[in-house]
Every structure is written in C-alpha cells, then in structure tokens.
Symmetry: C2
C-alpha cells in the first residue's frame, strides 16, 4: 500500500502499512499513516507534511538557519507549526521565548497522540500558545516586538493563502525589530519555480536581504524545496555569527557547513531570478 502525492509531473509514493487516523477539522482533512521505514506520516489535505524519519531536516533548517543568522535573538514568533517540531528546535536556544499561533487545534492534538518526540514542547513554559489566525494575530501585534518570525504553514491555498499575501509580509516587517528577520515556505526550484519567484518578489520589495535556501524532505514530491530568508540587517553566511551554529547540542542535520551550502544557487536558478528582487 502506498501514500501517493502528485505535484505537477511527479508522483511521489511512500510505502505505508495502514492509515491509522483520519479526521476532518474545521480547516482541513488530517490523516496519519503508519510506515515501516518512515514511522508515522502526517498528511494535511492530501499533502505529506512530515514523517518521523525525516521531520528533523525540515524543522532544524527552518529554525536554526534564521536563529544563527541573528546576533542575539530572544523573542520568536512561529505562525503555524502546530505539530511542535519547529518550536522544539527553537527551544534548544536557551535565551529564546516563543509565541506560537496555530489556526487548527486539531493538528496539535494529533501531533500529541501520534508524533511523540515532536509535540512535547507544548508543556514548555517558554512557549506561549495561541489558537488563532496568524494573519489576525500579526495585524494586532505591536511594532518591533519580535526578533524572528518563522512561518511553518501548508502551501499557499485555503486557510494558509493569507500567509503568502503582500499584506502579511508587510505586517511581519512592521512587527520585526530593526535587526529582525523571517523565514517562510518558498516552494521549490524544480517543481514550482513560478510560485518561488512570486514569493521572492513580494518579500524583495520589503526587505534588504532576501535569499532562498534549500532543504530536503524525502516525503515531499521532488524532495528539494526552499525556505526564503528575509532580513533587515544580518546576512546568513556572515562567518562571525555562524560560530554558534556548531555548538547546538543533539542536532541531526544542521551545521555551519550546511547553513552556507543551503544558500548556494545553481546557475539556471540565478538566471531565472535575475531582476526579481528589485521589481
């Protein structure tokens, strides 16, 4: 039996034993599959979000790249991330407090039941959880109140579409401090270059430093996807800051070499992106 996911010309199929959970929340269809090689797999509206085997890659890359780019972050806003994986990684940095805003409480409940090792963070006193809409939350947040914003959402459709609008990026820019930065879902060079360019263009008009970086998820169609880092001041491959990157304990994927490497851009992508950020 396979869990199958189509994305353009690719269909990715993951060998699974059975579907062990399914529910329709107010916002989306939630499924959990059990697999011998990948552990449990979380699927939202038909898209694989993570497996227990490879979730560390996505979560380490979404959290530590922005954190190690910032000189001294203390306040992080996570929008989405109801599974808890992104927060788990941020909490490895002892001086950081988190506000986490998840629209769908059911995702948290499912994660607590089926993704042990990811969801324990919700007991941590340094994490302040709000069940609500990230777009509304950020519109009501104070100016310059966060060092870092991490958007850990599904793709740009349905309840997540507002997180990919220029108005949202502008609000994020407003609530970030003068040396603040953010990371968001950035689609994929090979599977959906147009969507990638769209996001880069929107953020490029608001932030001085806007750079895509690569991560890999064996559970995603096409495997190589991108986050986009948008920063007011710090540059993600400045070596002084990166000294911290290799001192984080218990990581499985991320290190300073990986941070630098993740920003390398193939020549065909450079040609595609020419001029985008300035328009």
């Amino acid at each position: 039996m396979y869990f199958e996911e189509e994305h353009g010309f690719i269909k990715q199929s993951l060998k699974v034993k059975e579907k062990i959970f399914e529910t329709k929340s107010k916002y989306q269809n939630i499924e959990v599959y059990k697999s011998e090689d990948l552990g449990n797999i979380l699927v939202l509206d038909g898209n694989a979000m993570m497996s227990q085997k490879d979730e560390f890659i996505y979560h380490e890359m979404l959290a530590h790249v922005p954190i190690c780019t910032h000189r001294e972050p203390s306040k992080v806003l996570i929008i989405g991330g109801g599974d808890g994986g992104c927060a788990r990684e941020v909490l490895r940095h002892c001086d950081i407090d988190i506000d986490l805003v998840e629209i769908d409480e059911e995702v948290i409940n499912v994660s607590k039941k089926y993704f042990l090792g990811v969801s324990e963070v919700f007991e941590n006193p340094r994490l302040n959880l709000t069940i609500g809409d990230g777009v509304e939350f950020i519109a009501n947040a104070e100016d310059k109140s966060y060092d870092i914003i991490l958007v850990d959402s599904t793709d740009a459709k349905n309840h997540s579409s507002g997180l990919f609008e220029p108005a949202f990026y502008a609000q994020a820019n407003r609530v970030l401090k003068d040396d603040g930065l953010m990371a968001v879902q950035g689609s994929s060079w090979f599977v959906d270059m147009d969507e990638h360019k769209n996001i880069l263009k929107k953020m490029g008009s608001l932030f001085d430093i806007v750079m895509p970086y690569r991560y890999e998820m064996i559970t995603y169609p096409g495997v190589n996807w991108n986050f986009i880092l948008a920063s007011k001041k710090y540059h993600p491959t400045a070596d002084i800051i990166l000294q911290r990157a290799d001192l984080i304990e218990d990581l499985k994927y991320y290190n300073s070499d990986i941070q630098r490497a993740s920003f390398a851009v193939p020549t065909y992508v450079k040609k595609e992106l020419l001029g985008i950020a300035k328009n």
Copy 2:
C-alpha cells in the same frame, strides 16, 4: 501514464506520454519514454538514467567538480557514459582529450537517435571511443597515464558490478598520475546509506582524499544522490583551483558556490561515516 521506479520505501513516478523505443541489447534492456515536462527519458534495466530536462545536472556535476579540483588536467578516462553527456561537459575544457570506454554500443546508438544535445560528442576528434569492458580496459592501461577517471555507470549490478570492486579501484589508482583523481557513482545517503558506506570504505583504503558530494536528479528515486571523489593530492574545496569554476561557458547548474556546497555533510551522515575511511 507513468514511468514508475521503486527504490526501497520510495516509488518515484514520472508522467509520460508513451514509450517510444525499447530493445534488449546484449547487456541490458533499453527503453526511451516521451514526456511533456521532462522531454525524452532514458531507462536502463528499469532505472531512469536521465531526462532531457535534468541530465545537465548529473553530467555537469560528474565532470566539472573533478576537473576544477585538478590543477591542469589534459587526459581524462570516462568509463561508461555512452549517452555522451559526461563527455560533452569534459570537452568544454579545451585542453582535455578523452578516452571513453562504453560496454554497450546500443546505448550510443539510442542516444544519437533520441538525445540530441547529448550525443553529438562522438564526432569530436578529442574523443577516442572504445566499445568494450571498462574493467578490462583499465587493467590493460599504462601506469600513470590519466589525470582524471570518471565512472558514469549504472548501479552496482549485472555488467556494472565489476566497476564497484576493490580490484577496479586499485587499477584506477594505478593508472592515475601522482596528482590524479577520480569520481564514481556513490549511491544515496537517504535511500541507500549502506551501499554508500561500502564504496567509501573501498576507496578510502586506496586514496588519501575521499569525499562524497551531492547532486540532484529529479528523475531518480529520492532525488538527492552522491558521487564520490577520490584524489591523490588535490582537495576539492581549495579556493585557488576553484577560480576556474566560474569561467566555464554555457553551464546551467555548476558554479564554484555549488562545488563547495555539494561537499557539505549533514550531521547524521557525519555520524554514520565516522571511522569508515580509515578501516
């Protein structure tokens, strides 16, 4: 209609219009599929080898990483590579002559018919083609006669299995000059770590510098695969040598940032590889 390929827990399916060619050569089953998004796809014994859309990534990474690591290569041996793509990339370097040894003449014929843009190299006077067994060819080659050896083969089975034996690597070491180096297929960290470690271990006992590097092929199950560079003298991220990397004309993937980035190793892989090269 899909072309489907299973590798462990992953099944990769590529949308295709039709199978436009199939033959059984003396060595393998050869198929060509036509696809809207990927162009023609070459399949050997059920494994996708390349598509017209993404073959540039594989061939640029197999050729230019070793060439730009070497200070002044003039003589390259390609074993396999009957489609011509690897040779096309090597020939971009004007001072290099190639011996190419392909066991299956039928692969060359199919490439000439269905992969224009890849196979024109066989008319080039700087390429000397031999139809024959790479293992035999290298056993009969003179000591220290090549600067670089590139092994562009199918996986370690059937007629290719000899190219993954210690005896072959030892012969390669013998026919390489004192500052020579080679690159070979290195399997995949995520899809087949055991095979990757096997190859590293065999080469590690023969060469001072043995390093895996990553490339991506959307047509391969798991997408991210590895080559392994084995070198007697030169190190692949030495910056003086890399100055040449950005001066090669008409490339679509490779550049000096990509060369450095391709050698970055995730932390879980470092832990897996601990001690391998020394045993």
